[in-house]
Subunit: 367 residues, 4 copies
Amino acid sequence: MTASTSVPTPSVPAPDIVRCAYLDLVVTDLKKSRDFYVDLLGLHVTYEDDEAIYLRSFEEFIHHNLVLRKGPIAAAAAFAFRVRTPEDVDKGEAYFKELGCRTERRKEGFVRGIGDAVRVEDPLGFPYEFFYEVEHVERLHMRYDLYSAGELVRLDHFNQVTPDVPRGRVYLEGLGFRVSEDIKDSEGTTYAAWLHRKETVHDTALTGGDGPRLHHIAFSTHEKHNIIQICDKMGALRMSDRIERGPGRHGVSNAFYLYILDPDGHRVEIYTQDYYTGDPDNPTITWDVHDNQRRDWWGNPVVPSWYTEASLVLDLDGNPQEVIKREDKSELAVTIGADGFSYTRAGDESGSYHGEASKGFKLGSQV
Amino acid sequence: MTASTSVPTPSVPAPDIVRCAYLDLVVTDLKKSRDFYVDLLGLHVTYEDDEAIYLRSFEEFIHHNLVLRKGPIAAAAAFAFRVRTPEDVDKGEAYFKELGCRTERRKEGFVRGIGDAVRVEDPLGFPYEFFYEVEHVERLHMRYDLYSAGELVRLDHFNQVTPDVPRGRVYLEGLGFRVSEDIKDSEGTTYAAWLHRKETVHDTALTGGDGPRLHHIAFSTHEKHNIIQICDKMGALRMSDRIERGPGRHGVSNAFYLYILDPDGHRVEIYTQDYYTGDPDNPTITWDVHDNQRRDWWGNPVVPSWYTEASLVLDLDGNPQEVIKREDKSELAVTIGADGFSYTRAGDESGSYHGEASKGFKLGSQV
Amino acid sequence: MTASTSVPTPSVPAPDIVRCAYLDLVVTDLKKSRDFYVDLLGLHVTYEDDEAIYLRSFEEFIHHNLVLRKGPIAAAAAFAFRVRTPEDVDKGEAYFKELGCRTERRKEGFVRGIGDAVRVEDPLGFPYEFFYEVEHVERLHMRYDLYSAGELVRLDHFNQVTPDVPRGRVYLEGLGFRVSEDIKDSEGTTYAAWLHRKETVHDTALTGGDGPRLHHIAFSTHEKHNIIQICDKMGALRMSDRIERGPGRHGVSNAFYLYILDPDGHRVEIYTQDYYTGDPDNPTITWDVHDNQRRDWWGNPVVPSWYTEASLVLDLDGNPQEVIKREDKSELAVTIGADGFSYTRAGDESGSYHGEASKGFKLGSQV
Amino acid sequence: MTASTSVPTPSVPAPDIVRCAYLDLVVTDLKKSRDFYVDLLGLHVTYEDDEAIYLRSFEEFIHHNLVLRKGPIAAAAAFAFRVRTPEDVDKGEAYFKELGCRTERRKEGFVRGIGDAVRVEDPLGFPYEFFYEVEHVERLHMRYDLYSAGELVRLDHFNQVTPDVPRGRVYLEGLGFRVSEDIKDSEGTTYAAWLHRKETVHDTALTGGDGPRLHHIAFSTHEKHNIIQICDKMGALRMSDRIERGPGRHGVSNAFYLYILDPDGHRVEIYTQDYYTGDPDNPTITWDVHDNQRRDWWGNPVVPSWYTEASLVLDLDGNPQEVIKREDKSELAVTIGADGFSYTRAGDESGSYHGEASKGFKLGSQV
């Protein structure tokens, strides 16, 4: 289980991680999840049976970017990263063993399409997987006959909720990730950090909060109108209540974004047009937590649920990891004062909720 | 002054209105307004001096679509419509005279670029102008060397706040407008109506509220990304607090939209991609006021200010028209109950405000 | 049959035409045409049986914009225009009778979804239809669940080939059309003219050439990327040989365009973003035939087939109209000299063809 | 000077190249080039004086991506690549010394903004530069107040003309580049190859032809409409004769593209939306030279000049490298037969040119 001590740097080398590659996700109703990921979002089915559906994005050539696995509790079973060589799987195993983490070697066939792999319960309590061997499938990147108006073309990143972001950051930097952007306050509290291996803003990010939990998985589109189409389609399907936040322009990452919720409440981001980060001295951008444009460049408020809701993660036995409460100030809390607003749910005075307020909720004099 | 009796249909024919053509707008600081409309939004200056700036959109061939006129009180001085022939100006004068409205003939030069015109204080209290004669200027529609990333290509419509929407609707239908869409409840209250002469969803709309007031003026762009660029640019200029609502997809009109506020608080909509309404039997679409997708197809809540704030309008002497309170239920009020939320401004318990709530503000159990 | 004398103006009033509404098109293989218009282009089927398929665009509320009718000879059976009132059908009949044209009243059911109508063989030899009564069907304009990446949202216009453009122009102006743009040379020859009733650049256009023939039917998309997607999809389906010309930006009309060929060689334009023409004094734009940007703003050459190939049209008995040769200089011919190029098909010296040359075909010195 | 023997693999390690970083380009009229790259294309000036202009793209944080340097002969003076560490500059020097190439160490200040660097005359005759040290400047990636409608956001790649593509490919693979795509025929002739270090389709490509010459430099945009805007703007500026090819969709790379010519005839590609290639086993795509969609997915023909015209490159003394004739079949030549067309320039029978023909130039029967 996650301990609050700092994560030491192992003496053995870290595995050479290439990129985030797939998420192994437990869903409670496979049919409903298929409706969401295949019929609504248009992900492409590599394989499916009664127990699981293997999905990939338009430009992907490995077997899948997302596994939907039927199970009793909605949760993330594994955050899987591709490594550069078969030996990096061994390196990953040794690295986490030295960290004192539980590890399990998973042989070919444990997850369809994936060869030799190692799964670990990492120091933050997340189930990470590292693999090199993978089945190649048809890259659909020129199959415009299959291209939907809201086509998801790549897996972009994961986002993880953890109570102690600085601790997680040090751990991930040790593992070879580099920080592209972060959110801090003047007292040194870190609220969130974005970390990458591939040459984009992130392969994963750490969001401060009760964790370990999965905040979201993100797919990218070619252009902004593709994201708008997903919203429009959800409107047409009368699913607007599953649009949680956005669309908008992020401050952090500069990407155009949308957050939607799958039938189990797993959060999916649709994302496009961040920037190249591949240079060794790519400048890290630090945002002030009080900057109202940090999370939405247009100043649209973050809905409280986005800060508070997240998905459970599983340990290597498939049981939910215990969720540890964040002790540091929450980003949600510190951004109330700045705006001077709170929200109250009608008919529930005792449970009034305090969130970030919209710039739009001004109460100026009327004519 | 606006009286609450129904507006009779004159015996003389209505003028043949072609389209909404320009807004005569009083601003209190011409320099600041120029920064907003020219530097930020990229409208093209046809003429300017110390007293006024005449602006047009990219595809316009008449002298202007917007006059910014320096004055002591921010307000709309005229909603100007183009009519089909010079004789229609006479018809307009006769029509409003029979309605008992104050009218004034304005000769060429009263407004630069505009010839013979008639201004009226209409039955709802709005200053309407009808003109045919107008100076032609260079249509910039292929001047892509001047085309900005957020280019405004046409004036699309006006939107007016009036306490009694059904009364206003009957009056405007008498004047030749046709209703494309409206919002009602099951008890027959009409909250808003969209009316057109040109073959789009509207040349003007009526929004229920304290009035007569100008709700907004709307310009259209070619594509959705042009609107997103305006948001991005306002973010870059640290003007996100002037983005009031959106961007989003309207239910009513099906257009992609954004509402921003000029330095005086005049509201400007940026709008694109509604539909053709030119057939004589174009179907009118009625939305239920309780449909959470009526004003935003994605279910994003309307900020209360959008319902309550608006600009004064002037009488023909240049004095503000008295604002009459709406007696019918407000759309803002009736949409609280449906969602079960209210908002409270922190530290101002007595002045708590009740508005439409975000679908995002769910308070479900956390892990 | 078309006579080369000028078309007189009838004493009776012209029908009040609202817009081009549908094309009745004979195809030789209904299955192949369905593949093209439904599977490739995504038009929506209102009704189909073994003899005909009735298709409409995304935003349409009348029964159809295109009828695909099985027949022995690929040809256009009718260019149908909607008129403002039922009486305008009678006016249309009287108007063309006075012109000495053959007319036939077609009752409800002759064309599915269309009520009382009149079909005429017009002075140029084209089969025109005028109707008011029409079945309303679901307007799909917010059915984003059906929205394809290359969605066709409206019927925009027809384009007709006729040997004597000035004669055709006078006739259509008499019928109430107004010219938005034309192409001329300094000696007064008119090569093409664009004419509208609805408030866009055209409902139909006249292209100089051997006629009467159908040059193309045009559908519009919301944005430019929708047109690019159609190209990409045709590439994916290995149908690139059916992309005849474009995509590009027109000089005339300022629209973004693409021309593709259906299985019978009927030409379809995909078109987006022309401009508003609804004002009574909308300025007519005249282009010089020698302006290399008139037909493609980027100077890409028009392929010769675009000038020479077109579809037959039928008389009211369903027989092909005789094609009359253009006597005036062809646009294709006059634009050779300007560019100084000709094309020769290898192995066919006798049949060498002279066309407009690409700016790209420069033969400058190599290093 | 380029010798036609194969390039051996040095015993010392290759430098770790990060990406193509900037092109040092000699232009003959600095003012005209500024008009092109700054006023037309909107690149951002980091520094300029009477001798040179240093330009960068919207998302760049290093000093420049393009140097325009005044000189007597239009040519490319250096293709500069960034390496991962300062030591990689030394490695680069050693690597090329072992290859028997001329190398010169260039100290900070030789090129403004660039620190210690090595320039080499590589085995193909190209002037390559490797550097690590570079001045950081403001990354403009969120400066949407500066964002033009055709904004160039990144340097994407170079493209080099060389007579012996397989030889060049082996050399570049030795240097650490990996091949993403290539064009071959069934007899084994390689016509072109695309090679990358960063995780896109290429940092440079080899085009078969007389060389060494610079084929083009490519900048990327965010979306396809940005490229269309550049065409539209060139049309508005009556520069359509400087649009050489496109816009179109590449087969190879799957990117949307445009080729334009600067005042000296240097070719610039505008490019967007290729795919991720960062995985170690990223599949290489081989295209058949006879596939008419390989270079344009829509089958639009490549204009001959695109194959034959290119820019000189300089040796380390600033003198033009001798151009060696390609002995293998040219792609231009082999694609004539397939299409069965040739082009003849009118009035120049002796100099008739044979190129790839347009699918549009069909000479089928006319009605």
